[in-house]
Each structure stands twice: as C-alpha cells, then as structure tokens.
C-alpha cells in the first residue's frame, strides 16, 4: 500500500486525502458495467472533488469508436445512471477521457495503449500511475494481464510509478480454477498488493457499518457470541429474475453468483474477531479465520443445504415466467435459483451456533438482512402464560433497502396483569443521516486509486470461499437433481428450505 505523507491542510476536512495523479484504464469500456457504474462513479468522484487535478480516463475495447464517440456514450451513461450531472464539470472531466480501440489479444493494441498513456503522462502530469480495471468476462483476465505485462505496462517494483489491477467477480468458477487464476496472475505478472478483487457488496455503506456497529459500540460485542446468540440468519432475497444474464447464470447458479462472494463476505464480517487495526491486512486476516473455521454440519450436503428453481408466479401483482421460460435458459435447465445452507463455525466464539444462509431469485421482495437471534433468558420469572407471546430477542441489521437496525425485545403490556409482548425498536439510517450514500463503486474505485485494499478480497479469502462452495457443489453432484421448478415466483422458496431450518426447531424470519 502506498504510504502518503500526511498533508497538514487536510486536518478537519471530511476527505482525508485524494489519490495521487493517475490514469484509470478500463478494459471492456463499451460494456454495460462501464456505462452504468464505472464512469458514473468516476464522474461522481470528480464532482465530489475526490479526484486529483491530474487525472485521466482511458477506455479500451474492440469496438471502433473515437474519443468523441466514447465521451458521448459515457455522458449518456452518466445522465441516465449517475448523479450530480453538471455540464461544466462533465466537460472538464471528458476533456481528459480517451478511447483506445483494441482487441484484448492484439499486442499492437497494447503498444498503442502504451504510447497513448505516455502522451497523457506528459500532457496531464499523471506520473505513470495506472489503475487497470478489467470490466470484462473472466475469460479475458489472464490474457489482458499477460499482454499488459509483456507490453511493459505493469510495474511490479515497490519504487517508481505504481500499477494496480482491479478484477470483477467471478474469480474462477470453482476452487481449482480460482487457484489457477491466482497462481497465474501472481506468478510473474503482479504482486498481491497490486490485485484488487472487487465485490461491490463490500463498498456498500451498510455492509461497512456492520464493523462500525460491532466494534465502535461496547453494548453489542459482549453478547456477540455463542453464549448468548442462539442462531444467525443471513438473507439475500431478490425479486428479480435473471435479467438478461441467462448466459452467465446458467453456468453459475445461485451458489456461485451470490453465496461464494457476497454471502461469504457477510458471514465473515458478522462472525469475525475484532481486528487489531482498521487496515487491509488486519481486517482480512480476521475474515479469513472465519472462513477457515466453517464446518459442515453433516456428511451429506442434502442434510444441511436446500436448493430450488423458480416456476411461474406473481410478484407485486405482476405475472412472471418460470426460470426455464426466460430467454437464454435451457427448457430443461437444472440450474438452482435458490439456495439455503446451514453452516457451523468451529471456533471459540461460535462453537455450536448455527448460521443459516438463504438466497433466491423471484422471492416476494428485495431485501438483504443479517438477523442475530438471541437465546431465551435462563430463568423466566413470569409464569402462567404471561410470557407466551414473547419471542426471542433479535437484532436485525438491514443492509438494503431501508437500511437500518432493529431490536426486538419484550415489554409489559399496560394493565393490572403481568402480560408480556415483543416490541421492536427501529433505527433507520435515512432518518438520522438523510444524505444519500455514495454508490459502492465510488468508494471502491477511490480505494483502488488510493491503494487501500481493505474492502477488496484477498487471494486466500477467494480460495477459502470457493473451497466451501465447491464442497457443496460436489455434494450436490452426488445427489439426484432437484425436481424443477420447486417454488413459485413470489414465494419464499422451496419447501425443502423450510424443512432444513424446521428440523432444528426454527423458522426463517418473515421479511
């Protein structure tokens, strides 16, 4: 990580520092991610004064566009998907936005890119610093990185201008391919400190707030363990279907698309020990310990996992088709669109406390939540049914939408008799802070330019998460295929998932 000298003029200012002069080079510049997320995020950073004066953006893709065509397309993207469009600031931003046409396997293209970057360095004072953002399919990662390396565009040394490479998920499609990808990237081309594996979930304010809640308050951490916590539920529910991503999703399924990355990260943040510092390695050291401690609760994955595929149904009053009826999906597809798991963590803090994870598409609503369900009191004072309406205490962290925290606890119903009832105390971020949170990509792009890897996934995390997910997938391979579809769109998933948690005497939260 680059160590910046403290700037005395930054004292008391909200922004602690802006990145050093640099060029961000996006491979896959004509794709959806660039137009919807990356350029709007970079522009927004410029608008928020978080980019250095000496900054430039270069798009690289196969399409035969000019600088002006690229600028026009990106402006349309920012107008549609971004925020804070201000013509004068956009015009200044786009003056330093360029396009370089090349296929990803053409060495001449990389030579042209090198020349262009050298000329930008001269004109813009960008100092040779580069962030290469690979907004491409995973099949291109190695090829692009190899060409950048062979073309002399990567500086692996600790001195001189820096080079960083950001790669988007999926990082491989199973443990073996993830290990192969990491080995290849890190063998001769890059060092781990130069690789920024992005999981945009980690850029969300509310995900980061899990750490703030846990480690900036004294009242939660003492009960944040198996002595007091009865079980934990992590839910990532989506109401949408595959949304034109059938090509990718057919080969991935719910477990690769969501569990291997986002949900494993949520699990790690919820269960980790306090890091010694809030820096990249200290935080990631604690997260990897959680993933390494994952224990499977039975020999057969059928005992502790459930999967499903949605059929036709109704969501918010609208009829939606079955997964197999979606464009690009095989009519006999066996791909799972729903998955739930029970995991145990074999460590001092969580021994014996089950973690239930569920994710599905075409569920009744979009909601992401972590719920910590606490044990009952050791001795109930109130008898004769006074407490029969009392549910267990729950601390729920809502990640999206309506981000907030709610605590469920028991209270006396007013009246002469002693009767208790559960009540909820809600805290909503929108009420206390009002301001719109920045998009996750803004935060992550800024961190990549600053060289801060705290919110990026390290090699060992990726591989450990794949090792868990690969174990599940291997187990499923030995079982009979699911009979699809097994849940209707607009319902909370297949019966098998309810059975999974019901066997432990529990139920999924009603959300």
């Amino acid at each position: 990580m680059a160590v910046a000298q403290a700037n005395p003029l930054r004292a008391g200012l909200r922004v602690e520092r802006t990145p050093e002069p640099c060029v961000v080079v996006i491979f896959g510049a004509t794709g959806d991610l660039t137009r919807r997320k990356l350029v709007p995020a970079l522009y927004s950073l410029a608008h928020e004064r978080q980019l250095p004066p000496n900054f430039a953006l270069v798009g690289v893709a196969r399409r035969d566009w000019s600088d002006d065509e690229f600028r026009r397309e990106m402006r349309a993207g920012v107008e549609r998907f971004g925020r804070n469009m201000h013509p004068a600031i956009w015009e200044s931003f786009e003056r330093h936005t360029y396009y370089c046409q090349s296929s990803f396997d053409d060495p001449d293209g990389y030579a042209r890119l090198k020349e262009r970057l050298a000329s930008i360095d001269r004109e813009r004072g960008t100092g040779g610093n580069r962030v290469f953002y690979l907004a491409t399919g995973p099949e291109n990662f190695l090829e692009i990185t190899r060409n950048l390396s062979e073309g002399g565009l990567i500086n692996r040394a600790d001195t001189g201008p820096w080079t960083r490479v950001v790669i988007e998920k999926p990082f491989g499609h199973d443990l073996v391919s993830a290990q192969r990808l990491n080995r290849s990237l890190l063998s001769h081309m890059l060092r781990e400190r130069q690789v920024f594996r992005i999981d945009h979930y980690l850029g969300k304010e509310t995900v980061q707030n899990i750490l703030a809640l846990r480690f900036a308050n004294v009242i939660f951490e003492p009960v944040w363990n198996g002595t007091y916590v009865e079980h934990v539920q992590i839910t990532v529910a989506e109401s949408v279907g595959v949304e034109g991503r059938a090509g990718y999703y057919e080969g991935a399924g719910a477990i690769r698309d969501m569990v291997q990355n986002h949900m494993m990260q949520l699990l790690a943040l919820v269960a980790m020990e306090p890091p010694t510092h809030f820096d990249a390695d200290a935080v990631r050291d604690e997260k990897i310990k959680v993933l390494r401690s994952v224990e499977f609760p039975g020999r057969s994955v059928g005992e502790w996992t459930a999967r499903g595929q949605y059929g036709p149904g109704t969501i918010a009053g609208a009829s939606v088709p079955a997964y197999r009826q979606e464009t690009g999906v095989a009519p006999d597809s066996g791909t799972e669109t729903y998955v739930s798991l029970k995991l145990l963590l074999n460590n001092w803090r969580w021994a014996g406390t089950p973690f239930y994870l569920r994710h599905g598409k075409r569920l009744p609503k979009r909601i992401t939540e972590v719920a910590i369900a606490f044990k009952k009191v050791p001795h109930m004072l109130f008898r004769d049914g006074a407490a029969s309406n009392l549910e267990q205490n729950v601390l729920a962290l809502r990640i999206q939408p309506d981000e907030g925290i709610s605590i469920r606890f028991g209270a006396k119903v007013p009246g002469a008799n002693v009767r208790l009832r559960s009540v909820n105390m809600d805290f909503l971020y929108g009420v206390a802070f009002g301001a719109d949170p920045a998009d996750a990509y803004e935060r992550l792009l800024l961190d990549a330019m600053l060289g801060d890897q705290t919110l990026f996934i390290r090699r060992d995390e990726v591989e450990q998460a794949w090792s868990i997910v690969s174990h599940v997938m291997d187990g499923w391979g030995k079982l009979l295929p699911i009979s699809s579809p097994n849940y209707a769109s607009g319902t909370w998933g297949p019966e098998e998932s309810d059975d999974l948690i019901r066997r432990d005497g529990r139920a999924w939260r009603r959300l």
Partner: protein, 374 residues
C-alpha cells in the same frame, strides 16, 4: 405543520403534553393509522434577537429537519414586546419516510420574551432539553459576547454556532470570539458558518498537496493572493479571506509578523521556516460577495510554481496548476455555495473537539493585534 398557542405561563410538562397531542393528531398519522415516530439527533437552541432572525431561523430549521431531525428551541428576545413572562408556542413537522410508510416528526418550541424577560429563558430552555442528546446553540447575527444570556444558554451546550459574515464589528468580534475557548468554566466548541462556507475552498487548496511529490513545495510557499468581491451596496466578506490566512498560518506552523491596511485591502506577512510569506488580500467590485480567487506561489529549485483557484459560474470553480517546467493543468471543479441550512448541518456534524477553526481564528486575532499595535 400544526401550531397551537399555549397559555401565558411556561409549564414545561404542559409543553410536552401538547407536543404529544400534536404527534397523535390524525393529520400526523401514517395512512395505515400508525403513529408517527419522534426523531431527534440534537437539541438545537437558536437565539433570535430580531424579528428578521426569527423568520430566518424558522425557514432554515424547516430545511434542516430532513437531514438533522432535532428538537429545536427558538428563544426570541423582542425589545419591543411589553414586559412580562415569556410565552411558548409549539409546532411539529411530519413527513413520510421513504417507502417505509412511516412518518417521522420533528418538534419546534418557540419561546417569546421581552428584553426584561430574557433572563428567564435559559432556565426554561434547560427544562425543555431532551435528555442524553447533545445541545448546540446557534446565534445568528452578532453574538452578544458580553451578555450573560449567551453564557447561561451555553452552560448545557457543547457547541456555539455563529456566522462571522454577519458581524458588524468584524475585527472586534473575531478577536473576542478567539478568546472564548480560554474562558474559565466554558467547555464549548466554536463553529463559524463562514468557516463551513469555506470548506470547498479549503478542500481544493489541500488537494494541491495531497500528492506526496508536492509536499516539499508546501514548505516553499512565498506569496498568497486572495481576491475578494464586494457587490454594489454589499459587503466584501473579508472574514472569508482572513480565515483562509489564519488557517494556512496555523496549519503550516507559520508566525504572523505584519499587517498593513491598504486602500483596496490588506497586506499581511508571516514567517515560515527558511523564509517569509506575503499575503495580499485585494477587494474589488463584483457581483458575488466573498472570495473570488486564490493564487498560491511557491519557489523551488526548478523555479516558480503557481496553484490557483478561481470561482466561475454558480457552483463551479477552475483549478490551475502550473508547476515549474511542466504543462499547466486546468480543470473545472465543483465549488458550491451552501445555503444556511446546509451550513448549519455541516456545523452540527463537525467533530467534537475539532480545533482547526479555533486555531485559525487565533492566528487571525494575532494578525489583528499586530495591526492595532497591541
């Protein structure tokens, strides 16, 4: 908004009951009949010593309530009001919260007092403060720094918010304000809305030196020019330029050595390690009051470099970086003017114990002392 007058006496318990009744009023329930949630992040005590201030405070608090729901207590002192006990009026403002179906409400209590009744205000305010919430006192206009009312209101507070742009006796009040943090028995943070107004300028100046390669040139600054505009019939807002000077001097550990008044502004001098720094503050006619441009010149072994910032059209500024021997970088950037509610919000959000402003103010006072020969 619902307003109800209360009787002639101030009964704190009765005010609380009336607020509760307003919260339960049918117009403040959610469409499904759910009771509105009371939400507060701060007790905000605003002091109005003129009718115009009171109206402005109410308008600003309306805009503030979205981002900083507070219990607002507006203490008004009206010298034209007949002598008698202060009176109170209560209001609640409710709004729907996003897609949740919930309504959230904030409360306003307006206390009206004659000049003679003002001494009762602090004790009434004390009874109306919500427990366990921070207390901020906002005094629009020029705070009455010799009036015991100010210090009585500050007693439960942790922060005083003022706006030096409104000071009629600018130099005297800045100097007096700078001594406040050393006043015995008073443990408060000072925040100036003009200081908050300068945040975009300070942010962009700081940005020039975020690049670690530039840190050397921070020690080579030799001249700083600040252009101020005075609109027809208006004021130049010299306080903005003085605070920028105070900020640079305090953060960079310089020492004020000279202050000269000129027909069109000031020249100020400071000593830094290895040399001297000259500040030239120039006031000229213009449409928009306040700082219009800042140019910072450094001289290193390779020659002179100039970092400049110029306000352009509304909310846009131009950055120019001309490093010795390199092409000039020009970029447009956001240089927004914040409205009073936004300034107040950022003043409330300022971290506790954040003394950058107070350090800057102290250096301004040191320069002003040089000018008066003290």
């Amino acid at each position: 908004m619902v307003a109800q007058p209360t009787p002639d006496t101030i009964d704190v318990a009765r005010i609380e009951r009336e607020l509760l009744a307003l919260l339960h009023a049918p117009e403040n329930l959610s469409p499904d009949g759910q009771q509105a949630a009371r939400t507060h992040v701060v007790n905000l005590v605003a002091v109005a010593t003129a009718e115009a201030h009171r109206e402005r405070i109410l308008a600003t608090l309306d805009r503030l309530s979205d981002h900083h729901p507070s219990r607002a207590i507006i203490a008004t002192v009206d010298p034209t009001r007949p002598a008698g006990r202060p009176e109170a009026r209560v209001q609640v403002h409710c709004r729907p919260l996003g897609t949740t179906g919930m309504r959230i409400c904030v409360e306003q209590i307006v206390l009206e007092s004659s000049a003679g009744g003002a001494r009762q205000l602090p004790s009434i305010v004390l009874g109306l403060l919500l427990a366990d919430l921070p207390v901020v006192v906002w005094w629009p206009g020029e705070p009455a720094l010799r009036d015991p009312l100010l210090y009585d209101l500050l007693e439960p507070a942790y922060r005083l918010i003022a706006d030096s742009a409104e000071f009629i006796h600018l130099e005297r009040s800045l100097t007096a304000l700078s001594t406040l943090r050393r006043r015995p028995g008073l443990a408060i943070d000072l925040v100036d809305l003009t200081w908050q107004r300068l945040t975009p300028w300070r942010d962009l100046i700081a940005q020039f030196w975020d690049d670690r390669r530039g840190s050397t040139s921070l020690r080579q600054i030799e001249r700083i020019e600040i252009d101020l505009c005075r609109p027809p019939g208006g004021r130049s807002q010299r306080c903005e330029a003085l605070l920028i000077v105070g900020w640079l001097v305090s953060r960079l550990d310089w020492r004020p050595t000279g202050f000269t008044r000129l027909p069109d502004g000031y020249e100020m001098r400071a000593k830094r390690r290895g040399g001297d720094v000259t500040f030239r503050l120039r006031i000229s006619a213009g449409a928009r009051a306040g700082i219009n441009a800042i140019r910072i010149q450094t001289r290193g072994r390779r020659g002179a470099s100039v970092f400049s910032l110029q306000a352009q059209e509304a909310s846009v500024g131009e950055i120019r970086v001309a490093l010795a021997g390199q092409s000039e970088i020009v970029r447009q950037t956001r240089l927004e003017s914040l409205n009073e509610a936004e300034l107040l919000a950022s003043a409330i959000d300022t971290l506790r114990g954040e003394i950058v402003f107070e350090d800057a103010l102290e250096e301004v006072a040191a320069f002003l002392a040089l000018s008066s020969g003290r």
